[in-house]
């Protein structure tokens, strides 16, 4: 792994140089994921749990507040949040107030107005967040945030470094696409689960813009889903020229029964966006490589990457 670490590979959002704090490190999930992050190579510098200041978890000092943590150990780049959903808003705003510029909000079931408040404060602070309801993100051979891979040993085995970015709206699929690509010999620059909720901090279009700016990423595999307009916005980005790297896309939920639409407003805003057919059509028209069978993703990606190197 040392060879991997010393190679100057780029990645998005996370690498082994970023200083990371774990909010809720003394809890069941926080402790388990802190262990994964540390063992994989993430620079975890502190933990935070109100009332548990002074303790040490996995060799990492725990502070009562983030302000105290930053005063003591200096500025921190990233906070990963593992507190119960009703407490997430306060934890996130505490991190933003402490000057932290990237949050990874793992918990599921965070109330949507809480997410909107977090988004408003983040925007004001010039900060970003991944999630909520995210498995996290990982840059192979460098660092992981959240719980992708579950254990450092699995994460090392499953995900190989390389030039393909992954972005997914499903947590489990993030790992499975990344694993099947690696097994087929396609290495990865970063893999990101954008989060499963309706409103997330960095949706597909934002992640893909970051891959566009990352010199080591040559192509991006996107797992989209029905609902919302993230995938259509990606198509807009391709058409406007803001995204030039090839996008290999799969849209999940083809067979899902369309539910009773209760709200007019959704239809007014989306104006036909959100459906499986609509997303596939928009992406195809924009020039993305839309894959219909999940199992074909690695082969199609290989072909796309091969055609790129052929051009060079």
């Amino acid at each position: 792994m040392d060879i991997l670490r010393t190679r100057k590979l780029m990645s998005i959002l996370i690498d082994q140089t970023k200083k990371v704090i774990v909010q809720g490190i003394t809890g069941r999930e926080g402790m388990a994921r802190a262990k994964l992050m540390i063992e994989y190579g993430t620079t975890v510098v502190a933990g935070c749990t109100p009332g548990k200041g002074g303790e040490t978890v996995l060799g990492v000092p725990v502070f009562d507040t983030l302000e105290e943590a930053v005063e003591t150990i200096g500025q921190v780049d990233i906070s990963t949040i593992f507190v119960p959903a009703p407490l997430v808003k306060d934890a996130a705003i505490e991190a933003l107030s402490a000057g932290i510029k990237l949050l990874v909000i793992v918990p599921d079931r965070v109330p949507i107005y809480d997410v909107l408040e977090i988004a408003a404060v983040a925007k004001e602070m010039g900060a970003e967040f991944v999630g909520p309801n995210t498995l996290g993100l990982l840059s192979p051979g460098k660092a992981v945030l959240g719980m992708i891979g579950g254990s450092a040993a699995s994460a090392r085995n499953w995900f190989l470094p390389g030039n393909c970015g992954v972005t997914s709206r499903s947590g489990g699929i993030t790992s499975s696409i990344a694993y099947y690509l690696s097994r087929a010999g396609v290495g990865l620059s970063s893999i990101v689960h954008v989060g499963g909720d309706a409103v997330v901090g960095l949706p597909h279009p934002e992640i893909i813009k970051k891959y566009e700016a990352d010199p080591e990423t040559k192509a991006v595999v996107m797992f989209g889903e029905i609902g919302g307009s993230q995938e259509e916005t990606v198509a807009d980005l391709i058409e406007s020229g803001a995204v030039t790297k090839p996008i290999i896309a799969y849209i999940g939920g083809r067979g899902a029964k369309s539910g009773t639409r209760f709200s007019h407003a959704g239809a007014i805003i989306e104006g036909g966006r959100g459906t499986y057919e609509g997303k596939v059509e928009r992406l195809k028209t924009a020039g993305a490589h839309v894959v219909e069978n999940f199992g074909d993703i690695p082969a199609v990606t290989k072909k796309v990457l091969a055609s790129l190197s052929g051009k060079m």
Binding site: R28, E29, P84, A85, P86, D108, R109, P111, I112, Y113, L116, E117, A119, A120, L135, M147, I148, G149, G150, S151, S154, W158, S168, R169, S170, G171, G172, I173, S175, S176, A178, Y179, G196, A198, V199, G201, P203, F223, E225, G228, S229, Q230, T233, G252, G253, R254, G255, A256, T260, F262, S263, H264, A265, G266, A267, I268, I269, G271, F294, G295
Partner: protein
């Protein structure tokens, strides 16, 4: 999303200061006359149902006399709309409408803020109006920290050509609607139509209000029984499952019955997924082969073994499923042996007699598959386990093979009775109770319970397993309900460990006592 009925939404509007028509809710025909006395004649009779376009399906009627009102109520109480029987009918004063608008608040996922939508033309077919006449529709993005301000609402509404006092009145209504939406954490709150009546007042003639599922816990006063959008009224089993979900925050659990009233041999399968995306693909693999999905179920996000066990028990409570199919994304981050132990406990207790195919790919999958398959060889039905390199499609193919080959026993095997301990040693866990039969433990040579206990909370005292922590700590969650002390003991020890994990209402549902 937790949807409110029209009259429930209107109550929230009235609370925020928006005028609503005089109304009464009736639940049987006998209440109609009294309702008419309150609201007067002519009246509007509206079935309370979660659908749009009620007028076209006979769910809205006008009544000029008490007899007409009774007839309409009678008819509507017999309706079934989108699978939901109508149980409540709204009797309302008929407004003297001079103009109709549309007003809504929705969450805008792209801009990550609430958005106000106003249309100077309201009523049925608003989606088409918005498409055909974009100049009649105006929007305002709301800063969540300030809320919708009156001038912002006026600036939006003026763009549709509405001026003067009417503009001011409508903006005031928009601010009030936003306040109601914000207070009750609405995913969407809509008034269509919002009307001007002859007296010049603005009145909400209809209301659609959905509350964010994740925020329902903060609004007990709304009396929402199940914070989830079902395509049907929640079944008894849906309610039992929701109760499990609500009372255990560890990991995700989601269960919904998709079919009822089918028979054995009609190719309905119990489905147990993990993670939304992977589950959808796995279900696609089954439906492609002509199978029907009896239920959707998802246990993911690192749930404890006890939660997976409860999910499996609930899936198996569907009497006529032909098989049990489990598959998620295939490469799970969670330690899969927990799920394996949960499944094994459920399958053994129920003496499962339908073929089982489970894909438990991911972390520690080898151990998971070993537990799942080796600990179930003595059960009536075959149990197969697969890993991350086995695609969902292949697992579906295996299910097809097993169903073709398998001959179920003539009589459905009885579930195993709960063991009775001769010399019990018990402690409570977060959702159940662990009991060791120290008579059996004394004869056990392996003492495997202590070794395999995941949170390491057991120790030996005089050669018998006991808690190494306080009973309070065990009950608060230090015992993670990993089920090793039961499952591993039954396989390798003296079958002296038992974890009782009650599921409220399930025995009654199954007619067991």
């Amino acid at each position: 999303m937790a949807r409110l009925h029209e009259y429930q939404g209107k109550k929230l509007l009235a609370e925020a200061g928006i005028k609503i028509p005089q109304y009464r809710v009736v639940r049987n025909v006998g209440e109609t006359d009294e309702a008419i006395e309150t609201v007067g004649l002519p009246a509007v009779i509206k079935a309370q149902a979660w659908t749009t376009g009620r007028a076209s399906i006979g769910a809205i009627a006008f009544a000029g006399s008490p007899a007409e009102a009774r007839a309409a109520v009678q008819k509507m109480l017999g309706l079934e709309i989108k699978g939901f029987p109508v149980t409540e009918v709204l009797v309302e004063e008929k407004l003297k409408i001079t103009r109709e608008f549309y007003l809504g608040i929705i969450i805008d996922d792209t801009n990550k803020c609430p958005r106000m939508i106003f249309s100077s033309v309201g009523g049925t077919g608003i989606e088409e109006i918005a498409r055909a006449h974009p100049d009649k529709v105006a929007h305002a993005l709301v800063d969540i920290r300030w809320g919708l301000r009156d001038f912002e609402a006026r600036n939006a509404i003026r763009k549709t050509g509405v001026t003067g006092k009417l503009q001011v009145q409508l903006a005031g209504t928009a601010v009030k609607l936003y306040e109601a939406a914000r207070k009750y954490e609405a995913r969407s709150a809509e008034i269509n139509p919002l009307v001007v009546v002859e007296s010049g007042e603005i009145v909400a003639a209809d209301c659609r209000f959905t509350v964010d599922d994740y925020a329902v816990f903060r609004h007990a006063d709304l009396g929402i029984e199940i914070a989830r959008e079902f395509g049907h009224p929640p079944t008894a089993l849906d309610k039992i499952a929701y109760d499990v979900e609500k009372n255990d925050w560890r990991g995700t659990f989601y269960f919904i019955e998709l079919a009822r009233g089918y028979n054995k041999g009609e190719k309905y399968l119990g489905f147990h997924g993990a993670g939304g995306g992977g589950s959808m693909m796995s279900m696609d693999a089954l439906t492609k082969r002509g199978y029907q999905i009896a239920n959707f179920c998802d246990t993911s996000g690192n749930p404890p073994a006890s939660k997976v066990y409860r999910a499996a028990k609930i899936i198996l409570a569907q009497p006529n499923i032909d098989g049990y199919f489990g598959s998620g994304s295939g490469v799970a981050s969670q330690e899969q042996f927990h799920s394996a132990r949960g499944l094994v406990k459920a399958f053994r207790e129920e003496n499962i007699s339908v073929p089982v195919v489970i894909r438990l790919g991911g972390n520690l999958e080898d151990l998971a598959i070993k537990i799942l398959t080796e600990y179930t060889t003595d059960l009536p039905a075959p149990v197969e386990g697969y890993k991350k390199d086995d695609p969902a499609d292949y697992c579906a193919e295996r299910m097809q093979k097993l169903l073709a080959e398998y001959r179920p026993p003539a009589e459905k095997p009885k579930p195993r009775p709960k063991p009775m301990a001769a010399k019990p040693y018990s402690f409570k866990t977060i959702t159940g109770k662990v009991t060791f039969d120290h008579d059996r433990c004394a004869k056990c040579e392996s003492k495997i319970c202590v070794e395999k206990c995941v949170p390491k909370i057991l120790k030996l005292e005089n050669g018998l397993p006991v808690l190494a922590i306080t009973v309070e700590d065990a009950a608060k969650g230090k015992c993670t309900e990993c089920l090793a002390c039961e499952i591993e003991c039954e396989q390798h020890g003296a079958a002296g460990g038992y974890v009782d994990l009650p599921i409220a209402g399930l025995d009654k549902y199954l007619g067991r006592t």
